[in-house]
Symmetry: C2
Subunit: 219 residues, 2 copies
């Protein structure tokens, strides 16, 4: 038995799913998702979103990201953290820390976060991401779903914390182009939220993030 | 007020979360997820997984992927399709179709699918992925969560369908190194499942996939 699949239009069954007929030669847009973002949002109780945490090394991005993930998960939300740990060891394992590699690292993370948001989750991305242009590109990938959070702490505070010993190594000349020491950090021009980890406790900062999510992503 | 974040160990509160203490110089493993894969699985009713669909162009990978996504979503599962449409336009927009770019395309997709599975979802990847070595690398990224599905249809059937007009263009010499025409396709050596789209209808193939998921991912 031969089955002719040629004329099956995936959207035939449901008029609401019928989109504009696409050119047969448009080889990347033949078959579209049958599950809408609206259906995912209705299921999860929130839209897909990207919470992009930027700040100096030691500002507390990963700590806040992990605690926020736990708090949102415990509230029933679908949430996932992207950080150097799971990205640099996998999809971006081919990249080093030269300027062009760091730019590509952030570019890919922005696109992957957009995919995770498209899947209906709240993607929390915790990366130094020192340049506005790179963050703007990440925003462009997710559009209105993107929320830029400046995890703010002055250099002296971060260097005193030095949780990974990186500032010490950077001062010793072991790490070239280290953000805040030998490479610049540009704070967000218009972040959706600023959390000040030099002045507030972890719990207070996470509280602020949870309230932000309730108001702007769950709302 | 200054807050000292240095000595806060994320895992202190819960002995089950306490892992081996990590070297301070290991700069990519400082902070771990507080939400476990087990907690995600309990929430979603299934583990995270990767369903990797490989086969010739026109074999029906994207069609099956989109229908499977809809069926699983309607059953309450968390599921998301990765295909050329959402990957090639975003995270892999920097890649062309030369052999090394196609290899890198599949490498990244394997890693991104692994991230999505780590987030608790069933990632359905629909890519020709003609080489066993590339698929094996994708499997390695996800480990036991990886399920290779051979979407089987003979070349003649695929070329007759030619839903994107690509075979016609390949025969005309417009597309170099087109799988099945001027580049090889290696069927999976030991796929977890074979769906034969030349012999069975779309619905029958999707049924087989749904049963497979029930038995091997939801179970």
């Amino acid at each position: 038995m031969r089955v002719d699949w040629r004329h099956r239009d995936l959207r035939d069954g449901d008029p609401s799913r019928r989109g504009p007929r696409r050119a047969r030669s448009a080889n990347l847009t033949e078959v579209g998702h049958l599950v809408t973002p609206q259906a995912r949002a209705a299921r999860n109780g929130h839209t897909g979103a990207v919470i992009w945490m930027t700040g100096l090394s030691g500002a507390g991005k990963s700590t806040l990201a992990m605690h926020l993930e736990q708090r949102l998960f415990d509230k029933g939300l679908q949430v996932y953290v992207l950080d150097g740990d799971n990205v640099r060891k996998g999809v971006n394992a081919d990249l080093g820390f030269a300027p062009e590699d760091r730019m590509e690292n952030i570019r890919r993370v922005g696109e992957i976060a957009a995919l995770i948001a498209d899947a209906g989750l709240i993607a929390i991305a915790a990366f130094i991401s020192p340049y506005q242009a790179d963050r703007d590109r990440a925003r462009k990938a997710s559009g209105a779903a993107f929320h830029e959070v400046y995890v703010k702490a002055d250099l002296e505070t971060c260097e005193r914390r030095d949780p990974k010993g990186l500032y010490r190594r950077a001062r010793a000349g072991d790490i070239p182009e280290f953000t805040g020491i030998t490479a610049p950090y540009t704070p967000p021009a218009q972040p959706e939220l600023i959390v000040d980890t030099a002045q507030k406790s972890i719990d207070a900062c996470v509280d602020e993030l949870v309230v932000y999510v309730q108001r702007h992503i769950q709302g």
